[in-house]
């Protein structure tokens, strides 16, 4: 089943075209990485899909409009935000419980504390249950935010630059956590990142966006110099960091030179 269908999506902000005629879809259970340069429209794409920006075209989430999908509790969202107000009076436990609240009415389930603990243990944050959320580090806040998103039991989760404010070691853990959630809970993930090297190891498909969609498919685009030139411009030089997941991956620049 298609978890997300985007057809001919165009977004204009103050008369300027930010995203032009973009179409793609995501099958249920997939992890899609949306990559592209800063200012290429990645965040606007997510925000349009979630109904925060006006657009022309069509968006369907599990066959529903964004508004219907949100009302049905199908969506989860982790915005691009490095840190929240450190003094905001909300503890980790309460924030995760917020994630369980849907629609207009309805109380939390009677076993909400146990449920919160189980989600926190999934992200290895159960010891921080009574800690103020704003006092956590960036990586810890991201983990708790994932627990909050999961507490809503969404079918599709949108993550906007989820590695913002996290150090390199924590980033690796974070992506492993996302893969675990995808495999164990079957949650479809749409993730925005400017770091195409890192996320390519963790995603099933890539969408390369710079106003228009330059590529959508298997995550191989990072080794294609011509594609890099189109997405990032001719001045860019990509240095790829290799890891155990790399296959036929080279250090490339967009002038077409490829170095092994």
């Amino acid at each position: 089943m298609k978890a997300l269908e985007v057809k001919n999506l165009t977004v204009k902000i103050a008369g300027k075209v930010i995203i032009e005629n973009v179409s793609f879809d995501v099958v249920e259970g997939e992890i899609l990485g949306i990559v592209g340069p800063n200012g290429g429209g990645k965040t606007s794409l997510i925000r349009a899909i979630l109904g925060f920006l006006d657009y022309t075209g069509e968006v369907r989430i599990f066959g529903f409009t964004p508004s219907e999908a949100k009302k049905k509790g199908l969506t989860g969202y982790l915005p691009q935000k490095s840190l929240y107000d450190p003094d905001f009076p909300v503890k980790v436990r309460d924030l995760v419980a917020f994630g369980m609240m849907k629609s207009w009415f309805g109380k939390l389930p009677s076993n909400w504390k146990e449920k919160v603990r189980s989600y926190l243990s999934m992200v290895n944050m159960e010891k921080w249950e009574n800690y103020p959320f704003g006092k956590l580090s960036g990586g810890q806040q991201q983990r708790v935010s994932i627990a909050r998103v999961l507490a809503g039991e969404p079918k599709i989760v949108f993550l906007d630059e989820p590695n913002t404010g996290i150090d390199v070691v924590a980033q690796e853990d974070f992506y492993q956590l996302l893969m675990k959630i995808n495999k164990e809970l079957g949650v479809t993930i749409v993730m925005v990142s400017h770091d195409i090297g890192v996320i390519s190891s963790y995603i099933h498909k890539t969408a390369c966006l710079n106003r228009v969609l330059h590529y959508h498919g298997e995550p191989v685009c990072i080794t294609d110099p011509e594609l890099l030139r189109r997405v990032y411009g001719s001045g860019a030089d990509m240095i790829l960091i290799h890891d155990e997941n790399c296959e036929n991956c080279g250090s490339v620049n967009v002038k077409g030179e490829e170095r092994k």
Partner: protein, 270 residues
């Protein structure tokens, strides 16, 4: 002391003041967390235009104040949500305009027996039974709505977009909040006055914010400080023969300064 409490005007003041403390205690938490401290100023000063229109037309000034307060609240809210201008800009334009209209309306009015100072600075010791009854009705209705959406309102105060993605009706909650603030401002006019009501909508929540990381405890503390401010202010006002509204505000500010100097929250993490 007991004799003071037996006085009918004091009983009315305590009853209506308690209702006001309860609502403003809760509202001020949301106002502080949503960084809307000037919304009370904006709405209350807008209500002044309504009071003046009511005086000019010879109708109940509180009804016209309510209409003006609601228009003002939705103006501020609408502009703030659209994002084209910051809320403080719309508040700055609105409250000066409404005050100007109020002065013009009073200029046209030939009713020279109106106590304008009473509307501006209030006097909780001259409430009628009708004022107390109106406060209770508005207070109960407001509390029912707040109780229905309490946790959802907090989620939206933390991050409105996250709440929206969960299907929570954030726009409705925002305008509901503004409506409750408007009603509260109007019932406060006679008690503490248009100029001073905004203090009740900010200071109790600000004190509680300095103390706790727990949002439920913050609400409880805010209500307690609101009640303390009104009760102590009333007593000081009575025994020292000071204006009641101003004494309540100064009492609350003193409490705020004490906790600001102690900074209890910064001294610990949990």
């Amino acid at each position: 002391m007991i004799e003071v409490l037996a006085l009918p005007f004091m009983q009315k003041a305590i009853l209506a003041g308690s209702v006001l403390a309860l609502i403003t205690g809760i509202l001020s938490v949301f106002i502080v967390l949503k960084k809307l401290s000037f919304i009370g100023v904006g709405i209350s000063h807008t209500a002044f235009g309504g009071v003046a229109l009511g005086i000019l037309l010879g109708t109940n000034p509180y009804l016209t104040a309510m209409a003006f307060a609601l228009i003002g609240a939705f103006w501020i809210g609408g502009i703030g949500r659209k994002g084209s201008l910051h809320a403080d800009v719309s508040i700055g334009i609105l409250f000066a305009t409404a005050m100007a209209l109020g002065v013009i309306f009073l200029g046209f009015s030939h009713n020279y027996n109106v106590d304008v100072m009473g509307y501006l600075f209030g006097n909780i010791l001259v409430l009628t039974s009708g004022d107390v009854f109106a406060s209770i009705i508005i207070g109960v209705v407001s509390l029912i709505f707040i109780a229905l959406f309490f946790k959802r309102m907090f989620f939206a105060a933390f991050d409105e977009e996250l709440a929206d993605v969960n299907g929570i009706p954030t726009a409705f909650l925002y305008y509901l909040f503004l409506t409750i603030v408007s009603f509260t401002v109007v019932i406060s006019i006679k008690m503490v006055g248009i100029i001073l009501v905004s203090a009740l909508l900010v200071i109790p929540g600000a004190i509680a914010f300095l103390i706790t990381y727990d949002y439920k405890l913050m609400v409880l503390l805010s209500i307690i400080f609101s009640i303390m401010g009104i009760y102590l202010g009333l007593l000081f006002s009575f025994f020292l023969n000071l204006p009641s509204g101003a004494t309540i505000v100064v009492t609350l500010t003193t409490l705020f300064l004490v906790f600001f100097l102690i900074q209890p929250k910064r001294r610990r993490i949990t």
